[in-house]
Assembly symmetry: D3
Homo-oligomer: 309 residues x 6
């Protein structure tokens, strides 16, 4: 597995081509600059001295058996490829990183929470939308990069937010737990249309031009009309939570949180994604050192304490 590659030497492993840039050397010889992935990590690779025909035979999304020499280039691991042999039977989803829970476990827990919702308008709306997108809900990532950018990230991040919201509702009992459960589950459903696919996601045209917040708001509104729920105040409050969950207008929310539940949703979304990024930075960092500056954390570095095992 890629995460086990720590030093120079020969290797052979099955993996996914997730980046495939064609290039030529100064002397005009074609070569490939590649990213190879499996479910445990990503490996930088170069495939030198190819013919034009060879170069054309590889592309993003192909599963291959890669052999070659691991070398250190600029203090980083790199694979000097000897051979890439296509593995046509393999499924791409076996070669990408996955959420720490299985899809059906997540589904069971999500449905448990929907069952807990007392407000039937909210429960039916939420279930109807999940029914529209169901398989995708458990396979899409929560983001293209930064946090929960793996298969099942959308559902896993939403689930973490439900759990955290339930804890907060215990301490602040004036909060409406139904609104929070449904908003946590739904808040990023628009990402299914914002991204091109659950693996190797790209922004779609409508993702860029509308944004996942408006995509979801429009979907909720349409489904509410179909269910004849458009006049319920709880629906208005849920829409408000969806629209305001980025917390500030400069982050793409057309309105800012004006209810305690909207404030909690935005806080919980932030906290879960920030702790993900901090934890990930710590995991790849030496004890007593700081990781790299992280753009999505306002360019902060994260410190890994000396005694952290």
């Amino acid at each position: 597995m890629i995460k086990d590659i720590k030093e120079e030497g020969k290797i052979s492993l099955p993996c996914l081509i997730s980046r495939c840039d064609k290039a030529k050397t100064v002397k005009g010889t074609p070569y490939l600059s590649l990213s190879l992935e499996d479910s445990t990590g990503i490996l930088d690779a170069k495939f030198w001295n190819l013919t034009d025909e060879q170069v054309e035979s590889y592309h993003v999304g192909m599963i291959v058996q890669a052999t070659g020499d691991v070398i250190l280039h600029k203090n980083a691991i790199q694979l000097k490829v000897r051979t890439l042999k296509e593995l046509p039977e393999e499924k791409i989803t076996d070669y990408v990183r996955q959420a720490p829970m299985k899809a059906d476990e997540m589904k069971k827990e999500i449905e448990f929470y929907i069952n807990e919702v007392k407000n039937q308008d909210l429960a039916i709306l939420t279930q109807t939308i999940l029914d529209e997108v169901q398989e995708d809900y458990y396979s899409y990532p929560a983001a293209k990069k930064n946090h929960h950018n793996y298969v099942g990230g959308l559902a896993y991040h939403s689930l973490s937010m439900v759990r955290l919201s339930l804890k907060i509702c215990e301490l602040y009992p004036f909060l409406d737990v139904d609104l929070l459960i449904c908003a946590c589950i739904l808040h990023d459903v628009g990402k299914i249309e914002e991204f091109s696919s659950p693996v190797l996601p790209e922004y779609t045209a409508q993702g860029n031009l509308l944004g996942h917040i408006s995509i979801l708001a429009m979907k909720v509104d349409r489904v509410c009309h179909e269910l004849n729920l458009q006049d319920q105040e709880s629906i208005l409050l849920l829409k408000h939570m969806i629209l305001s969950h980025h917390g500030k207008m400069e982050f793409g929310s057309p309105v800012v949180p004006m209810t305690p539940e909207a404030e909690v949703l935005s806080t919980v979304d932030n906290l879960d994604s920030r702790l993900y990024m901090m934890k990930e930075s710590i995991d790849i960092c030496q004890s007593g050192e700081f990781g790299p500056r992280i753009f999505a954390l306002e360019n902060r570095m994260v410190y890994r304490r000396k005694d952290q095992e």
Copy 2:
């Protein structure tokens, strides 16, 4: 008419009570602090020495015959009311400021432009939405204050934007004139739900919690599904224009303009409203002087030139 009141003296005129604050003097005597309006302007007024019963008999939205003494208080005209007599037959719309075109003239011109639209998907969508809101489209204001804040302001501002966009399309022929006509006509339709009524408008709960941009985006999406237009690229581009027409995320647009037509829509909206505010400031200003600082113009003052008649 209110705009004709220039100096101290007795007057009697029919007008609308548009603000009605109840108060008591230091000695405990009830009085009313009022704003009185007719189709030409607004007048500040005080009605002293009332009983509690009298105070309760007046309210916002009432049409009255007001008599009293015009005085100068802190360099401003004020009416010291002697009597207020209700005029129950009068219609409130006769006592508020109006767009410079009649509703049916505006309607004729709007429909002329829709007829010019070659893209039938856009034309049908636009007409269907106008059919949903029709009377309101020609009576709502374009804003609560700042610009086109009069009966018919929404339609008149939209019409000015269509005209200006057509001029721009003549000079930049790569622009899609159909998209611009429809987006100008529709862009502020969400204000009909954002405001409580065409006269004496207040923000509604859904106006504050969702905002007119999202209200309209949801309406357009729902109508497109009903008309089975949801997959047309022109519809996607129109939605993008609606969502991005405030130009910047910090002004409440969840996405920024990413097509030339979206850029033109946002520019034309801005220019028409800014020229309105500047013209209005000049109209009440002395030659060779600056008007007051205007918050919606980033706190700028506007200069009225000496030779401006």
Copy 3:
């Protein structure tokens, strides 16, 4: 009690003078403009037609029996005072708002949490600092205005933060619960020197010139030297949490959160104070309406839903 005053009429009640401005009428007659408080609220008052001697006999902090007439002035309740008679036996702390828990209950719960701390360096440091400030810790407010601005607010707000942090630690087990308990308890201890007193607090000179963050950082550092703990990494991490708990440099933190625990502390501080402010705004607001714009919530209004009992 002040919270029960809803309409005009005569009253007599014991209360605290919390504002006392001396003034003269246009005709030169002295009077007092006052704020009167008890444990349930604040009342605006005027005391007319005094002599210079009478005016000098009243001051902030005095407990008095006030009699007079409640009137409506500009839609707000105001007391026209007839007599103010000093109540020299009364204690000021009976006339100010109080935390919803008693001091000794809060103390017991705080000490329970310190006992839970496994890292003895952190536990001893925290206990030593509480021993230095102890009575004040349970009487000072958490802020001069905005949130938890009542007797015992500092301890109550800190306690809420401990509880919330413990919940978060259950869901994110890589977090150091000892650091979070101690940092929540200590984070605002510097306010005891930033404010002049637990009731009627004013900013002290050192409060303005140093700020409560630096005041506490210096205290922690000094106590650590006295306890010979200055070289422990856990102490460094605690100091970092104290310094960074405002989350951003422009809010007065000299460094930004660079550990997950610092991020959680800052989030929990924010969430507890924001929910306080939102709840308070809802409590004084009509159903289906928005409260006033709140500066400390970035000028947002808060919505009270229609069905909120």
Copy 4:
């Protein structure tokens, strides 16, 4: 022509050296890294294996016949030069991009507009300044990069702005058309001193130290004194328009627009340059795709619709 080079192979073409960086390989052999331009585009090139004497014989601004091999390097076209032979008879202006109108056509249209100006003070001032800079006015670019960065760009951009302003004046008849014609023609004349030359422009020392806005303001003021026009209000208003045309102080305008004409000038300048950049991005983009992020458009991408021919 450079725009016709689409694939690998041998070529020979006349072109301008617009960048000429001298370098040595790891082994110490001199080579040149070049940009080659003609009136249709720009080509990246490397000239390997030279002697020190050869390296010294080439420089920016030289016209050459280039032969060599087109290769793909990092997915981009690059010329591996075999020979560069100077073409001493060729004129540099034949090898740079040009405005879509000829200089004398632009001059005729500009003079037509000046003839339309009724205010003789403004007309004479404008003509006098054009007489001072005349040839340069029709050859300088409007910007070093971003928009209208070609020979004649200054005049062409100014002309587009006049045309657009005239359209706007038709719809807002209170605008002073004379001021707008003259301000559009003059507003960027300071760029003639801000840039070193019409082709291969660099910022001059005075361009950086004073900026084109102040350079023009000083020129207008001096010419007004020579023409004895310094006390006319129209001159003051024209100066204001020049100073404020960047719209905001943070964009280098020492004052912000305080007249409707200044607002229109700033809007028209913005709109013409933004539409230029958006159109150019669309022209080099695939249908249904987004172009690169554009710094001068606040980092936005531009979308090219699927059906755009």
Copy 5:
């Protein structure tokens, strides 16, 4: 003198009317709300129970003998006027605050510094501009409010900046002392046209529309052409210093400091004005207290130490 009025009682003193607002009481009786000034301070005043004719006979700029009763209104001194008698022989300049040096002393020192300038181009330019504005240079204020807002403030502030710059040049000998002397003397000369007059200054139309920075830059450029100095590099550097002396574009400088001398000029201008504002705040503040928030100091308060005599 006004600064000596500390308590209630009768007074009679000669003073300048510097604000004169006409008003009527609730009952319609005319009165005047006035500011009265002498060379030591400002006094708030009310003149009750006048006739319309009396009200019309007073105006800003009139010198009067005022008699009346000093009273305390809202903790502030106010004069209840009994009589105002015009003193037609008095000169307004005797009744406004003055710089701490006499005009001819300042002139002598300024001319001494110009004599020290070795670069004759700079010296002649500076002297020529002072010759154009001379009397005004020694009577105008440096600002309308905030700092050095008294007769002679422009010259006194400039002089303080020359002195401070000379000290800095001693420590950083690479600085060009000639440039700094001339730039300090000239930098605010544009305020003479930005303000209407040395006493009771208002912003002129050209002050608002052009700003004092551009007014001076244009004047310097014109005078340089008349003296045939337009091509000297020292003149370019001086112009750059004038344009950049506000330090940042958002403060109205069209360019930012790009030479060490420009950086020093901007720093010295800032420091002298900030120390003025801080000193003035301390002078009116109690020991151990903070003065009011000062907008021009980014809303900071200033602390007066306990032991400051």
Copy 6:
């Protein structure tokens, strides 16, 4: 010496390895990418064709005799190393850049200023802190890069600030010269713990997590308690100056300057570091040209005048 290397050719010189990155060529051959320093400058170097053992034998901080060929690579000087021979007897401090004054001269001048301080509390506090850090005070740099980033930079920068403050106190005699002397001397002492060592400094964990401002504030507070000075107002004012010396909260000061002395300290710190950066940019720039954009000067370029010798 490194500063004397101007052209290609063979050289041999003793120097410090201050950067030492291990790498491999495309073909897998190890090499080193190095920075070599002596007291006059920095040299970029490559050491090709090594074995793995050779690569491991070099590290940062080693003094070596380097021989090789100076070549021009991308218009910059680079050393192609032939041999690197360790010089074990050499001291690292002879191979790094030094302040323009010797440590003992700086110490003498610093102590002279402390002797001038009349307030004995401040003098003793300052001396005690210097006694704690003494050798380091005269060897640490004032910054990791940007300004005074050489051995002794901390003391030299502090000394320049004392000198400049004394000049300012002459002109503004209300300033407290004792506070300014001590604050200038102490303000950056926290950098001794913020950086890992006087040469080749890196940020320490506590440097990143606490920042030098808080490190010093805590040290001052602890020493004051040890000296029993904690209640003196002058100590409070000194602490305020230390905390506020970055001038703005967004630059890491938890409070902003609220005394004239704090304002002067912040201004003097800024001016000395900015003039350093500007002078350094001019020194490496051609006459009549601009240097590179400097991040720490808000991305400004600096101009070197034509006649600057």
